[in-house]
């Protein structure tokens, strides 16, 4: 593993239309898991295109031990763009450095995460680099003609659209976090770390961060592995209590449809769907959720879907793996009881 400090001029040697670039995310010098998920997307693309995988990280001081992890998860080269001014993300300073960097290395393909960071900086970069960007891709593939085929849900998730960016480069896409798993770590994997000292910014950032209030350690619906979602079928807010207890007992987080949130039964942070959050848990249990398309758009990427609803024609049954047609208030007490038995269900 080499460790160089280089100037902008020598970046041109890394221009290759076949390489797949990812924009990794770090916070306080620590790489976020989503960066490794991006590598899991990039590695198969690089196999298809016959190129290498390049990871770019921007920050103030990025330790070798962290950068090396990108190599262990699939990167062939890691570019660390550093400056004391980059301790916190600010759009103007970060984009200025990245635009200059990408203008020099001219990536053919650039992927980032559809996080609050990626969803802000990627369109900002795409505009300046005069190229196309596809948000929230569920599938990426390289064609024989060096085109990245970018597939994303359209029209509320009922239709998938495959999008290309034929003439402009880089071909840019974001993918949702938790939408794939990182590759297995390979501690022996070899790669190169290239450090780039960014020029001091021409002016101070327009953004001053005064205070940071971290989210409580509590799991949110976006990173939960299990979700119990409630719909209008719960009838009233008081009925939430046993459902909350049930969710807690199986280690699940409570989610809701828009109707439940609009009625004020649960906060907006619980809302799943087009106007709420997209979730990718291993298990989704819908109680009294009919499955309006706006809701389905936010949860159909769940690995396994269980639905309990009185209406046999509820659309949610069309995408469920296991459905019970019946009253959730009949099902819930028995289900809670049976799941609490450590030995599992006894034969009836």
């Amino acid at each position: 593993m080499q460790n160089d400090s280089i100037t902008c001029n020598s970046l041109k040697k890394f221009q290759s239309p076949d390489d797949i670039w990812i924009l990794a995310e770090q916070r306080n010098g620590i790489l976020q898991t989503v960066s490794f998920e991006l590598l899991a997307r990039a590695v198969p693309l690089a196999v298809q295109s016959g190129g290498s995988v390049h990871a770019v990280v921007i920050g103030s001081s990025l330790p070798d031990s962290e950068l090396k992890r990108l190599i262990e998860y699939g990167a062939d080269r890691v570019f660390a763009i550093e400056s004391p001014f980059f301790e916190h993300y600010t759009i103007d300073l970060y984009s200025q450095a990245l635009i200059g960097f990408f203008q020099d290395c001219r990536p053919g393909q650039l992927i980032a995460a559809a996080t609050t960071f990626g969803r802000t900086i990627m369109p900002y970069l795409a505009m300046k680099l005069h190229t196309g960007l596809t948000a929230d891709c569920t599938k990426l593939e390289m064609s024989d003609s060096r085109r990245m085929l970018q597939t994303r849900p359209a029209a509320g998730g009922n239709i998938m659209a495959t999008i290309q960016c034929p003439e402009h480069r880089p071909q840019m896409a974001t993918v949702r976090s938790h939408s794939c798993k990182p590759l297995d770590i390979d501690k022996d994997r070899q790669g190169e770390i290239i450090r780039i000292a960014a020029c001091p910014p021409s002016k101070t950032s327009a953004v001053t961060i005064q205070k940071f209030i971290p989210v409580s350690e509590e799991t949110t619906i976006q990173n939960a592995t299990k979700i119990v979602a409630v719909g209008r079928g719960i009838k009233r807010a008081e009925n939430l209590k046993p459902i909350q207890q049930f969710a807690k007992s199986i280690g699940a987080v409570l989610g809701a449809t828009r109707e439940v949130v609009d009625r004020g039964w649960l906060p907006y942070s619980c809302q799943i769907g087009l106007s709420g959050k997209t979730i990718t848990p291993r298990l989704y249990i819908g109680l009294g959720v009919s499955g309006a398309i706006q809701h389905l758009a936010g949860m159909q990427t769940a690995e396994k879907i269980v639905a309990v609803n009185k209406d046999p024609d509820a659309p949610i049954f069309r995408i469920a793996d296991f459905g019970i047609v019946g009253d959730l208030f009949d099902v819930l007490p028995l289900l809670s009881e049976m799941l609490q038995k450590p030995s599992g269900p006894s034969p009836v």
């Binding site: 759009i91 103007d92 609050t116 969803r119 802000t120 900086i121 990627m122 369109p123 900002y124 795409a126 505009m127 300046k128 190229t131 196309g132 960007l133 596809t134 948000a135 849900p153 359209a154 029209a155 509320g156 009922n158 239709i159 998938m160 659209a161 495959t162 290309q164 960016c165 327009a206 953004v207 001053t208 961060i209 005064q210 940071f212 209030i213 971290p214 989210v215 976006q222 199986i250 907006y268 087009l274 106007s275 298990l283 398309i293 706006q294 069309r318 995408i319 469920a320 296991f322 459905g323 019970i324 047609v325 009949d330 099902v331 289900l335 049976m338 799941l339 599992g344 269900p345 009836v348």
Partner: protein, 271 residues
């Protein structure tokens, strides 16, 4: 006084979206077009800033002539003036071309804009890209996912707005030097309803329309030709779930259904 630009999009009313059972596509009727619900939060923020600090609010919308209805609606909420950007030559624009057209129009109509406000994203396209792209085209900073807007401070040479930005890790309290663009979340304000008086006032209001003739944009930067991206294929997602359905009729069917569900969950190692 602040000069505020609002970016408004007319979208299909998703609450009334119906699926075509045979083709699986969404049936849309022109009559169901509404103001993108998430834009209303940006409108409300602009009105509150106007009430507190004084502002002139300009709403911009790009779309077909029928999008004038969306602008009329925000005018009836209290926005000062509106501008429809409409030309067949703009049709087929992707987010890059749309942001280009919007930013060029803003430059022309409000060259001294202090603040551009947008909803988080449009409920139809769902990309959330146009806001940051407009900021980039105008070379001003963007703060997306604003959860709260605080006070405005003005010194002789700068205007600064206090904001709370929501991130995956927590909330950032920031001071943002204007001019800038922000995209707001629902938590930022509760949109007011249009007043009847204003509704009557704006019913016949003529909404100025800006066309390619007024804007003289490079034809290579607008419409389909100016769009870097192309949709090459649309298809219906294949649902390959094999659903086990248990229907409850009596006490024993309940026992049976729940038992098989528990067994199924255990087999899949989900509990």
């Amino acid at each position: 006084m602040l000069k505020i630009a609002l970016l408004i999009k007319q979208v299909p009313e998703t609450g009334s979206v119906r699926m075509d059972e045979t083709t699986g596509t969404v049936i849309r009727k022109a009559a169901d077009a509404i103001v993108n619900p998430l834009d209303l939060y940006a409108v409300e923020v602009s009105l509150q800033l106007k009430e507190k600090y004084g502002a002139e609010i300009f709403a911009f919308s790009m779309g077909p002539p029928s999008a004038a209805a969306a602008l009329r609606e925000v005018l009836s909420m209290g926005v000062d003036s509106a501008c429809l950007i409409s030309d067949p030559a703009f049709g087929g624009s992707d987010t890059w071309a749309t942001a280009h057209i919007l930013s060029e129009t803003i430059k022309k109509i409000v060259p001294d804009v202090n603040l551009i406000l947008c909803g988080e994203r449009a409920t139809d396209g769902d990309t959330g890209q146009v806001g940051p792209e407009v900021a980039s085209a105008l070379d001003i900073p963007v703060v997306a996912y604003v959860a709260a807007v605080g006070g405005l401070t003005e010194t002789s040479d700068a205007k600064e707005l206090e904001l709370t930005r929501s991130t995956e890790y927590g909330q950032e309290e920031i001071r943002l030097r204007l001019p800038a663009l922000i995209t707001v979340l629902k938590s930022v304000a509760s949109p007011r309803l249009p007043t009847l008086d204003r509704k009557i006032q704006v019913r016949k209001a003529k909404i100025p329309v800006y066309t390619q003739k007024d804007l003289h944009l490079d034809p290579g930067n607008i419409g389909l030709k100016g769009s870097p991206t192309r949709i090459v294929k649309t298809f219906r997602p294949q649902i390959i779930r094999h659903c086990t359905i248990k229907t409850l009729t009596d006490e024993s069917s309940l026992q049976d259904a729940v038992t098989s569900l528990v067994t199924w969950l255990q087999q899949k190692e989900l509990v």
